[in-house]
Amino acid sequence: MRGYLLRRLLQAVVVLWAAFTVSFVVLYLLPGDSLSIRLGGLEGTATPAQIDAVRAEYGLDDPLYLQYAHALGDALGGDLGRSAQTGAPVVRTIADALPQTLALTGCAMVLAVLGGGAVALAATFTRVRALRQVLLSLPAIGISMPGFWVGLLLVQVVSFQWGLLPAMGNEGFESLVLPAITMALPAGAMIAQVLAKSLTTELAEPYVETARAKGAGRVRIHLRHALRNASLPALTLAAVVAGNLLMESVVVETVFSRAGVGRLTAAAVDTQDLAVVQGVVLLAAVVFVVVALVVDLLYPLLDPRVGRTV
């Protein structure tokens, strides 16, 4: 068990390193003048001396591998550089914005799992054909709607027409409801789609027939036999869903004018604040790695066929 954990941790570190490298390549090596980006649009007014100073400060005259080595070394020490816009350290900037976004993402995740699971279970359980058809088409519709549009519709109806919940801001739980619903919709639809599909597959498996032949009832077969098998494919999606959810915050926080990592990202892209963008990419990779690790540790508990020593 300890050997397994150690190996998994090592894998996680490798993924993070690779994510760092990929983002370094994407952000600093692609065509685009990183100098002018780092000058933050001041190149028109800057004197040659100032430009040289900036070049020296960022080590832009160094060969690429040295730049990379420096950046990697700093990152290992927990330093992801400074924001070109505010001059604050990237790590602190992100850490300050994170709690708001985590609360939002957490709420959305719970909503998505409950809602998606309920739709999938109801759709596969009902014997009313029409109801089943309607329920099965819900996820497809949910996935097809642009998140920012759904948010705006909710604001329009709930906040302005009914005057129920705040349309924007970070104040209190009430301000969390609409953004969380907006975020949960595509994720919940994805969960419902996968779960409904695997439930349908599982319910047609011969072992379900064995259970029926024993005289087991429908509820028992659905929950005790099929659901556990069907949740396995859904579980493997968890890391992807969590990552997508996190990044849906870019759109949702913009629509609802909430402070958080999403807004930070949108602003950073807008001002081409590459250090912050790279910080967010690494954050997303960390989230992915952590969720994937948790899923991997959970998996053998749910599926005896997967040995712990794999």
Binding site: A18, G243, Q272, V277, A284
Partner: protein
């Protein structure tokens, strides 16, 4: 056993079969109609709306939907329907570029990885693993911040973000077909590996990749419009679906139609693309 009389006799029933397949599924039929309309709007926008999308009549600003203005008008008195119709060209072009980038680059990488195997496969697939650990929207955003703004750059960024999943599906399909009994049978009867690749592996492996491309079409529309909404795509006066919604955002409380209608068009297009993709997927599975 029936006796077929020539090639034509076998093709005609097949075509009729396809038509019948579609007609019996009203949802699919509707989806095809929607996609056809969107395509028409993109190629010949003046056929559907002959007004100028950039010029408005200030007298008629912020009017609700009516017979004269199907989707209402915006704060400058421009007809929203005309703007949506003319915007579809840009939105659709960006989507097509994105899908093409993903399909060509991703499919190519997957094919090479699956067919060559060995260390190349290992390196490519580990890279794909890492790239897939980064949410797609974020990857697109990172690419946009490096490449700069504009519709084409957004489209490329969206496409590149999907390369990994295309590579993965293509490789899996190539491996599946490569290990199938009929490929082994071909090899056992002396067929060389080049012929196996072009005659057996490619035709049989590309089906799922094209299904993914159809699905990706919907995803790409959503991503492109999201990035445009955030302001990284076309600059404001240009009509583009995501931009239209962003423009209408300031009037959510007073002019609901400004955000609702462009959003509906996006949702309907994505839904239709997904429905068609599902039909293609089903067709493929029945074939096997």
């Amino acid at each position: 056993m029936t006796t077929a009389t020539g090639f034509g006799a076998r093709v005609v029933p097949a075509a009729r079969g396809h038509a019948w397949f579609v007609v019996r599924r009203p949802g699919l039929l509707l989806s095809l109609v929607v996609l056809a309309l969107v395509l028409l709007a993109a190629v010949f926008p003046t056929l559907l709306a002959d007004g100028d999308p950039l010029v408005g009549t200030p007298r008629e600003r912020l009017q609700g939907p009516s017979g004269a203005h199907l989707f209402g008008t915006d704060q400058l008195g421009r007809d929203l329907f005309t703007r949506v119709v003319h915007g579809s060209s840009l939105s659709l072009r960006a989507t097509v570029v994105a899908v093409a980038v993903a399909l060509v680059v991703g499919g190519g990488l997957g094919l090479v990885a699956g067919f060559v195997g060995g260390w190349l496969d290992a390196v490519l697939m580990r890279t794909v693993d890492v790239v897939q650990a980064i949410p797609r929207l974020l990857l697109s955003l990172a690419l946009v911040s490096a490449l700069g703004f504009g519709t084409t750059k957004v489209a490329i960024a969206v496409g590149v973000a999907s390369v990994a999943s295309f590579a993965r599906v293509m490789r899996a399909e190539v491996l599946r077909v490569r290990s199938s009994v009929y490929v082994e049978a071909a090899r056992a009867s002396g067929v060389r590996s080049g012929a196996i690749l072009t005659r057996h592996v490619l035709p049989n492996a590309s089906g799922p990749v094209f299904v993914l491309a159809a699905l990706e079409f919907g995803v790409a529309i959503l991503s492109v419009s999201a990035l445009s909404f955030l302001g990284f795509g076309a600059p404001p006066p240009t009509p583009e679906w995501g931009v239209l919604i962003a423009d209408g955002r300031g009037f959510v409380a007073t002019a609901w139609w400004l955000t609702t209608f462009p959003g509906l068009v996006i949702a309907a297009t994505v839904l239709s693309a997904n429905r068609v993709s599902r039909a293609l997927d089903g067709e493929r599975r029945r074939e096997r």
